[in-house]
């Protein structure tokens, strides 16, 4: 009798352990799988580019759409706070897309770079600077792109890149890109980008925890009006400083970059960008919004309910047999 009780106790303990493992362990493992932890070799956070090939390609594509619609170049400069030089990612673009040099903006008049800036503007290309060296971080892809021909270049002198821009972009841990491609800053191409807006993000990085500990963003532009967009404007996106270092911080940062054209449109400084209609690739479908956890927990719940019912039913049958 005592041996049977011990065995029953051991089985009970085992069941409880199994329940706990199922309730807490399975969703945890599933979440890791869903986040790509088991996808293969994980990049080193100390040197991995913030945006991978897909993310970078997607950002360039979205900014290219906005640049074409609004005639403004859009870019990003992110000081990730890391001390290492971050390799320039080769973006992967969807379909046949390839970033093109900004042609003459159709939405807004193109100011002549040699002409004095309009009242209220601060054309950075007006700052005298020595001719810029080729950007060492520029991807081979961007280097291979044809040059713009639509915007007439001034006879002399050619637009130059301000030295502070070159310095900023060559700092370790700094990553940048624009609608012209990854590793290309609009300020490096003043002839192609007479008007630009750039989101600048500044992060603090903990080399011990290998993650960002704080971050802030601001937007610089040369569109005049003298009211650069600040974080207070980005609050309208539902973004907070905590979001910039929280779960899916990279996605939130991409949101902030991608929303700059939207902010400008809402301020009446550019025209709205219409969503592009396009065919959805075969097999490309929306994932379940409930997440894996919902299905795991639901399955566990059903198993527990069924297990409890079976336990009671078996005991009832045994009890009935025993009494008869």
């Amino acid at each position: 009798m005592s041996e049977s009780k011990d065995r029953g106790g051991a089985i009970g303990c085992g069941i409880i352990i199994l329940i706990f493992a199922a309730v807490f362990g399975v969703p945890f493992l599933w979440n890791m799988y869903d986040n790509g932890v088991f996808d293969g070799k994980q990049p080193d956070p100390a040197t991995a580019p913030i945006f991978g090939p897909s993310e970078a390609g997607r950002l360039v594509e979205r900014l290219d759409t906005a640049a074409r619609a609004q005639g403004i170049c859009y870019g990003w400069v992110i000081d990730s706070g890391r001390s290492a030089r971050i390799p320039v990612v080769t973006p992967s673009y969807g379909g046949t897309f390839s970033p093109q040099p900004t042609t003459a903006p159709s939405a807004r008049p193109v100011p002549n770079p040699s002409a004095p800036p309009a009242p209220g503007t601060s054309q950075r290309s007006a700052v005298p600077a020595p001719p810029s060296a080729p950007n060492p971080n520029a991807s081979p892809r961007s280097a291979a792109r044809p040059r713009a021909t639509a915007v007439p270049r001034p006879a002399s002198p050619p637009p130059t890149v301000p030295p502070e821009v070159t310095r900023e972009l060559s700092e370790p841990g700094v990553e940048f890109g624009s609608n012209l491609g990854v590793g290309v800053d609009p300020r490096q191409a003043p002839a192609r980008c007479p008007q630009w807006a750039i989101l600048t993000a500044q992060y603090s990085y903990s080399s011990i925890d290998k993650e960002w500990t704080s971050g802030s963003v601001s937007v610089q532009d040369n569109l005049g009006a003298g009211n650069d967009l600040r974080l207070s404007n980005l609050d309208r996106l539902g973004l907070t400083s905590a979001d910039l270092v929280g779960d899916n911080a990279t996605g939130r940062l991409a949101d902030a970059i991608g929303a700059v054209p939207l902010l400008l449109a809402e301020e009446g400084r550019a025209r709205p960008v219409a969503p592009a209609a396009g065919a959805v690739p075969a097999g490309d479908e929306i994932s379940s919004s409930r997440g894996a956890g919902f299905y795991v927990f639901t399955t566990i719940a059903i198993v527990l309910i069924a297990g409890g019912a079976v336990w009671i039913a078996v005991a009832a049958v045994r009890s009935r047999k025993g009494s008869s």
């Binding site: 069941i15 329940i19 986040n35 994980q42 956070p45 993310e55 997607r58 979205r62 900014l63 759409t65 969807g94 993650e211 960002w212 309208r236 996106l237 539902g238 929280g246 911080a249 990279t250 996605g251 949101d255 991608g258 929303a259 700059v260 054209p261 939207l262 902010l263 449109a265 809402e266 009446g268 025209r271 709205p272 960008v273 969503p275 959805v280 690739p281 097999g283 490309d284 479908e285 929306i286 994932s287 919004s289 956890g293 919902f294 927990f297 719940a301 059903i302 198993v303 527990l304 309910i305 297990g307 409890g308 019912a309 336990w311 009671i312 078996v314 005991a315 009832a316 045994r318 009890s319």
Partner: protein, 135 residues
């Protein structure tokens, strides 16, 4: 029999509790609220007098989306069964569209494709790698 009743009952009770929590945590749909709050201009399309960002913020505050994406074209809110897009209207308010999840994903694929789905329903972007995926 008594032990089985207690043990089995406890097991089933835990199961019911987990099931209820899983169902409740899914959140509710903003469809009805949007229909009541904004002027309908076409089936599943509404007009807001506020800007796209403000409108999206208002909807999000009332009904927390499971994800939110912003890009040059507008703000996209994802709910368990719906995709709500809030698009600017040339400086005069914003347009709200309410679609089923699958239809909204297809309609706004250029903005949310890869992020909310992908081949086989498996999202392919923003899945980790850099320093911004901690916490």
């Amino acid at each position: 029999m008594k032990r089985a009743l207690v043990g089995g009952g406890l097991l089933a009770a835990i199961g019911v509790f987990i099931l209820v929590m899983a169902l409740v945590s899914g959140g509710s749909s903003p469809k009805g609220w949007i229909a009541r709050t904004y002027a309908r201009t076409a089936p599943g399309t509404y007009l807001s007098t506020d800007s796209a960002l403000r409108t999206a913020q208002r909807i999000s505050a009332k009904y927390k989306p499971s994800d939110r994406a912003a890009d040059p074209t507008g703000v996209y809110l994802r709910y368990p069964d719906l995709v709500v897009a809030v698009l600017p209207q040339g400086g005069k308010g914003s347009r709200i569209t309410v679609d089923t999840a699958a239809r909204g994903y297809a309609r706004y694929h250029s903005s949310v494709g890869g992020r909310w789905g992908g081949p086989g329903g498996h999202a392919s972007t923003f899945r980790g790698g850099g320093p911004g995926e901690g916490k």
